[in-house]
Amino acid sequence: MMFAAAAAGLIIPMLMALVRGLAGPTLYDRVLAGNSFGTKTVLLIAVLGFIGGRPDFLDIALLYALMNFIGTIAILKFFRYRNLGVADSPDSKNGGTA
């Protein structure tokens, strides 16, 4: 019952983060909303793991936290340098660091 309350208490801020994501004037508001939504998803996965009695959900939650962080940094780098500096990709000028 307690984790049902936790899950409910997480859904509402997630929707609010989506509203900021859609309404956000600048790109960085949207990236912030995405990052915040991802952090809450990590918590929601952990809570659902507790509700469903599945301890292996916590591995998924940890992985999701990793991906969320890397995704945020990748988005920022892409919009800063117009390319991710991936080696020998057509748009990375010198193929190495931007």
């Binding site: 990590v42 918590l43 940890l62 936290a65 962080f69 945020t72």
Partner: protein
């Protein structure tokens, strides 16, 4: 003893939900990107930590608590880093804080790097 743990985890959980809610509310209502970033960055990390502590209390001494500790340590270090990266990226592009006169933002002659 069982009662105390349940009560403590309830308290942590409600505090966590409160901070997550206020962080997201701040993210919605504050006028400027940097104020939203400030609101979301601080309270999100705190709210997440509190809820993870609540779950650790419920899980007791088990592998689940170790996993929860790993998640909370990871979020403890990367959430501020992501917030800094966001602020740095926005500042580098020229997004200036709301209502701060441009003169104050330019570094003084002495600090010219």
């Amino acid at each position: 003893m069982e009662m105390i743990i349940d009560l403590a985890s309830w308290a942590f959980l409600l505090a966590g939900i409160f901070f997550i809610f206020t962080g997201t509310l701040g993210m919605l209502r504050l006028p400027d990107f940097y104020t939203r970033l400030h609101a979301a960055g601080i309270t999100d990390t705190l709210g997440t930590e509190l809820m993870l502590i609540a779950m650790m209390l419920q899980a007791g001494w088990s592998i689940v608590t170790v996993k929860l500790l790993m998640i909370s340590l990871f979020i403890f270090f990367t959430s501020p880093t992501a917030t800094h990266a966001l602020a740095n990226a926005a500042n580098a592009v020229g997004l200036r804080p709301f209502g701060v006169p441009e003169a104050d933002l330019r570094p003084k002659k002495t600090e010219e790097a």
